[in-house]
């Protein structure tokens, strides 16, 4: 019930995997909130600029008027402040929590960073190098899944948790990379666990409700890539 959870507002953008994470977290815990779509490439709202003056980016979660920024920070906040509402997102055991935080950091620092470089590459050479790095970075996830899931369905165990949310939020982008590269980022031969995990995660109601259509993201990616190449060739 919105009343008992306080006033919750999420500033977001439909294409952003970081925003998707917050929606997945709130959805998994069954928490309702107001959603505000920001014109992130055009005119950012005053509320966004005031709430996130440092980064001027989405997502921003505003809880009882107080802003929380950065997707990893927001998801952990949701788990800590709404403890007792719905399932826990982070594991109960401190060591398992450390493993979860490790893999979440890995996804953003290694996988996300190289994919971002691929989208923003100014030359084909740069892009191919970044895509190669993205593929190399993806492989470790198979081991990460084994370590976190301990043989169960999700990184979080029986239920989807923090790592599932973070990886899940980039699943549509995984599909985009695979199309752009002409090869599956999660190679079924090398990463059968991750391939099965993707199917299971996408079957979740919350994933169906939140995850974007990869076809739309592919168009967005092509636009971004064309823009960066054009800028380069005009210099």
């Amino acid at each position: 019930m919105a009343g008992s959870n306080g006033d919750l507002k999420l500033l977001g953008h439909k294409g952003s995997p970081f925003v998707a994470r917050v929606k997945l977290a709130l959805g998994l815990k069954g928490i309702s909130y107001d959603y505000v779509e920001e014109d992130i490439f055009g005119q950012k709202s005053d509320l966004l600029l005031r709430s996130n003056p440092v980064h001027k980016a989405v997502p921003v979660l505003i809880h009882n008027g107080k802003p929380i920024c950065e997707s990893q920070v927001i998801v952990q906040y949701i788990d800590e402040v709404f403890v007792g509402t719905g399932p826990s997102l982070l594991p109960a055991d401190p060591y398992d929590r450390a493993l979860a935080r490790f893999w979440v950091a890995y996804i953003d620092d290694k996988l996300g960073a190289s994919f971002d470089r691929a989208l923003r590459a100014k030359t084909d050479e740069e892009r191919n190098e970044a895509i190669k790095q993205t593929f190399a970075a993806a492989e470790a996830l198979e081991g990460g899944l084994k370590e976190c899931s301990k043989g169960k369905n999700f990184f979080g165990g029986d239920n989807a948790g923090y790592v599932d949310i973070i990886v899940g939020s980039v699943v549509p982008w995984v599909k985009v990379i695979s199309v752009l590269a002409g090869a599956e980022l999660f190679d079924p031969a090398k990463m059968p666990g991750m391939v099965a995990w993707v199917d299971r995660f996408c079957e979740l109601d919350v994933a169906k409700a939140v995850l974007q259509d990869p076809k739309i993201l592919l168009e967005q990616a092509k636009m971004l890539m064309a823009k960066n190449s054009a800028v380069a060739s005009n210099n």
Partner: protein
């Protein structure tokens, strides 16, 4: 602590990330074996404990490895807690979110450009990175006022999460001043951080853990040389 706890920390003196982990265990007052790694000849233990990154720091607790400095700090904070044990992260969820936000800022926005000063291949690049670093420290000067609420550290009366995140870089900030005459923190431009830096350095934990600045200067010269060599061989 009930059963016997075995704590081992793999690190190098000048690594800000190892400094964070090391200071965290010192603050908690727990005994920990500190193993200095030779980065040019990494130990089997390091390679097997951190196969993903093969980097320091790694904390090994009762044989189980924890990697990534901020993950280690949070783990240490959660495992060693209770009456009389200093906390590193606040207990209030909103304050925790603020602390995590600024620690992430240090790693994502500040550290890369600070490091860029040392790794710059040309004077022009160095000046660019210095300018970017000076811009990146400004929000932290503002953040200090907001977080500390008039007290000595970002966390209040004692060293906490953001203090460790940024404080671990002070040795490098001073090394950069000596190497290039570039002042990232100064009494004139960042008075709050300047005063905080002194207090951080005077703390018992810092005195126990922080290396001599000259060690960082020497390491910096090695990094410079390695960066030039790598660029020359392309």
């Amino acid at each position: 602590m009930a059963a016997k706890e075995e704590l081992k920390l793999l690190g190098v003196d000048v690594s800000p990330f190892a400094i964070r982990a090391h200071m965290a265990v010192v603050i908690k007052g727990v005994s920990c074996e500190y193993v200095v790694e030779d980065l040019s000849n990494k130990s089997e233990l390091l390679l097997s404990s951190n196969p993903v990154y093969k980097k320091v720091p790694v904390l090994i607790h009762n044989g189980k490895p924890i990697c990534e400095s901020l993950v280690i700090v949070q783990y240490v904070d959660e495992i060693f807690s209770g009456d009389g044990v200093p906390s590193i992260l606040p207990t209030d969820p909103y304050e925790r979110a603020i602390a995590r936000f600024w620690a992430a800022y240090v790693d994502d926005k500040f550290f890369p450009v600070l490091r860029g000063i040392v790794l710059a291949l040309t004077e022009q690049e160095r000046v660019e990175k210095a300018t970017e670093t000076l811009a990146a420290i400004e929000p932290l000067e503002e953040a200090f006022a907001m977080c500390s609420k008039g007290k000595a550290f970002f966390s209040g009366d004692s060293i906490g999460y953001v203090d460790l995140a940024l404080g671990s870089l002070l040795v490098w900030i001073e090394a950069i001043r000596r190497m290039y005459n570039i002042e990232i923190i100064s009494a004139s431009k960042t008075p709050r951080l300047s005063a905080w830096a002194e207090r951080f350095g005077e703390s018992a934990a810092a005195k126990e853990v922080l290396p001599e600045v000259d060690k960082a200067v020497q390491f910096g010269k090695m990094l410079e040389a390695a960066a030039s060599a790598a660029a020359a061989s392309k």
